[in-house]
């Protein structure tokens, strides 16, 4: 276990280094420097600015510098917000995104699993069909369109909820719904198909013949096995919520990390783009590692070390 963990962490470090190198390379492949503008700066000013951000040094030095700073979790200054570092920006905006993300995560898992259970239990009835239609629509509507429709319905046509900003519990509802919609649909389909499988197994028939009630059958016997695919979806789910947050936070004007990322793309604020990309990659990788560690706790047939081999 410890060896496995060490291996994975070492692997993660190497990947992260590769990520940093690739993103750094990409960012510096952009023709013209970050301060190239339509209106040319006077050469003296340009030189000062470049010296301030060490852009006058050879690329190799800049790279080594960047990696050294990134290793101690320092992602450098922002070009567009003088005096602010990427770390400041992440520290300011991450709590908001994390709150929204976690609420959506629980919403998606809770609603998705419940709906999937209902659909599997009432397989091939109108309950099932209704759920499946909902899920199919859920994955075929892009989240920005869904968010726009939610705003139109619940903020303008029938004004019960705020349309934007982030000022209290009521402000969470619409963005969380918009963010959770697609993952919910996906989890629902996942739960349904694996639960249908589980309910067809012999041990369920045995349990049924022993007179175990439907609720306990579903809950204690079938669901335990059926939820494993859902657990392994948590990694991709985190990634989906992250990219979803770019859109949802932008539409709802929520001051989170996702919106800041999109803004920095508009602004071509390269260090911020670079820093947030690295940060997100790190976050998602840790999430995947966590899932791989939790998995064997739930399924004793799988040990941590054997998982990779399959």
């Amino acid at each position: 276990m410890a060896i496995y963990l060490a291996k994975r962490l070492l692997g993660a470090c190497i990947v992260l280094w590769a990520v940093i190198t690739i993103t750094f390379g990409l960012m510096h492949a952009i023709p013209g420097g970050p301060f190239t503008q339509e209106k040319k700066l006077p050469p003296a000013v340009m030189a000062t600015v470049e010296a301030r951000y060490h852009l006058d040094e050879p690329l190799w030095n800049q790279y080594v510098d960047y990696v050294r700073h990134a290793a101690v979790l320092d992602l450098g200054p922002s070009y567009k917000y003088p005096g602010k570092t990427v770390n400041d920006i992440i520290a300011e905006t991450l709590p908001v995104s994390a709150e929204l993300g976690l609420i959506s995560l629980f919403l998606a898992i809770g609603a998705g699993v419940l709906a999937g259970m209902a659909a599997a239990w009432y397989k091939n009835t109108w309950v099932d069909y209704g759920m499946m239609i909902g899920a199919t629509l859920g994955v075929s509507v892009p989240s920005f369109i869904f968010a726009a429709v939610l705003i139109q319905l619940f903020a303008f046509t029938w004004p019960v909820l705020p349309a934007a900003l982030w000022k209290g519990p009521a402000y969470v509802i619409l963005p969380a719904l918009a963010l959770a919609a697609q993952p919910t649909a996906f989890i629902m389909r996942l739960t349904r198909s694996s639960l249908v499988d589980a309910l067809g197994q012999d041990y369920i028939r045995t349990a049924r013949s022993r007179g175990i009630g439907p609720w306990s059958l579903l809950y204690r016997h079938a669901l335990r096995n059926a939820l494993l695919p859902v657990v392994s979806y948590i990694g991709p789910l985190a990634a989906a919520l992250m990219t979803g947050s770019f859109i949802v936070e932008t539409i709802f004007a929520i001051p989170g990390l996702g919106r800041h990322f999109v803004t920095s793309i508009y602004n071509r604020d390269y260090t911020v783009i670079l820093g947030i990309t690295i940060f997100y990659s790190f976050l998602i990788m840790m999430m995947n590692l966590l899932v791989d560690l939790i998995y064997p706790l739930l399924d004793p047939r799988i040990t941590v070390d054997s998982r990779k081999e399959e």
Partner: protein
């Protein structure tokens, strides 16, 4: 396609396996109304994308300020946008762009994925392990971020979207192809062919490649909507195709800005996008049930 009349023997065996993959696939597809609907949607949308723009007197870039923000009418079936451009033609042109993005990006995925997965599976052993380890690692980092980075670095434009999406999402294809070839390698008939002294190339040509076509087509069909979706996402954050061209994603995100006053500007491109999405997903699921026998268990959903 002609089927022999049902005989006594057929009655006992509820399902007769037809000879080729195509026959078998089509046979299964015919019993799946959703898949047929999906196919119909995809065909109609493709036709509209190809010939649609010729049917209208306007072009996607014609501006007419006197007609700006006109509601749908006989002259402009889907109304006009804030610059007075005919929305019907723009949605049809959007179909061209969105569908071509889906197709081209997915074909690049196929190209890379088949070569990578094929090499890994055929080489086997250590090379396979290393190559698949790389895929696992790439899987654990969100590729969308890198698509965004690529689009920031190479200026937004149609060609760059093809490339960025094409080189980012081949992982799944590589896994599918590798898995398929590995399982084929274990098949008795491949071993038999090998023990008869059939050359590797012959085995590839006669056994491997034909048997990989099914899963590849399925994965391709399911990756097209994904690419269209991703492009819509990129458009929304300002990294889509550049004006005056417009994909459905660009049209929909423009529509969002004017949603309150002119909801039709969002509704039409959004509908086109969602219907096409549904079409591809139904078709892809149907194809998977039809062509990919290994997925039969999941087919029960």
């Amino acid at each position: 396609m002609d089927f022999t009349p049902i005989t006594e023997a057929d009655r006992r065996e509820p399902y007769v396996a037809p000879q080729t993959l195509r026959d078998r696939g089509w046979h299964r597809m015919k019993g799946n109304p959703l898949a047929l609907w999906g196919m119909a949607i995809v065909i109609v949308m493709t036709l509209l994308a190809v010939i649609g723009p010729f049917l209208s007197p306007y072009t996607y870039a014609d501006q007419s300020f006197s007609d700006a923000n006109a509601w749908p009418s006989a002259a402009h079936w889907f109304g006009t946008d804030s610059l007075g451009r005919d929305l019907f033609v723009r949605v049809l042109y959007g179909a061209r762009i969105s569908l071509s993005i889906g197709l081209v990006a997915s074909l690049i995925n196929v190209f890379i994925g088949v070569i990578y997965g094929g090499i890994a599976a055929l080489a086997g052993g250590r090379i396979d392990r290393i190559m698949m380890h790389v895929v696992d690692i790439l899987y654990s980092i969100p590729m969308l971020l890198y698509v965004i980075l690529l689009m920031v670095v190479f200026k937004p434009g149609l060609l760059n979207i093809y490339l960025a999406l094409g080189i980012a999402y081949w992982l799944n294809m590589a896994r599918v192809v590798r898995g398929q070839i590995l399982s084929l390698k274990q098949q008795e008939y491949v071993m038999a062919a090998r023990s008869c002294g059939t050359s590797t190339w012959q085995i590839l040509r006669r056994h491997m490649i034909p048997n990989c076509v099914g899963p590849i087509i399925v994965t391709l069909t399911l990756s097209i909507p994904e690419a269209i979706f991703t492009e819509a996402f990129l458009s929304f954050i300002g990294l889509g195709v550049s004006a005056p061209m417009a994909s459905w994603g660009v049209l929909a995100s423009e529509g969002i800005n004017s949603m309150r006053s002119f909801p039709f500007q969002l509704a039409f491109p959004a509908l086109a996008l969602c219907i096409t999405m549904l079409g591809f997903m139904f078709l892809g699921d149907g194809l998977r049930d039809a062509l990919d026998p290994q997925h039969q268990k999941e087919g029960s959903r």
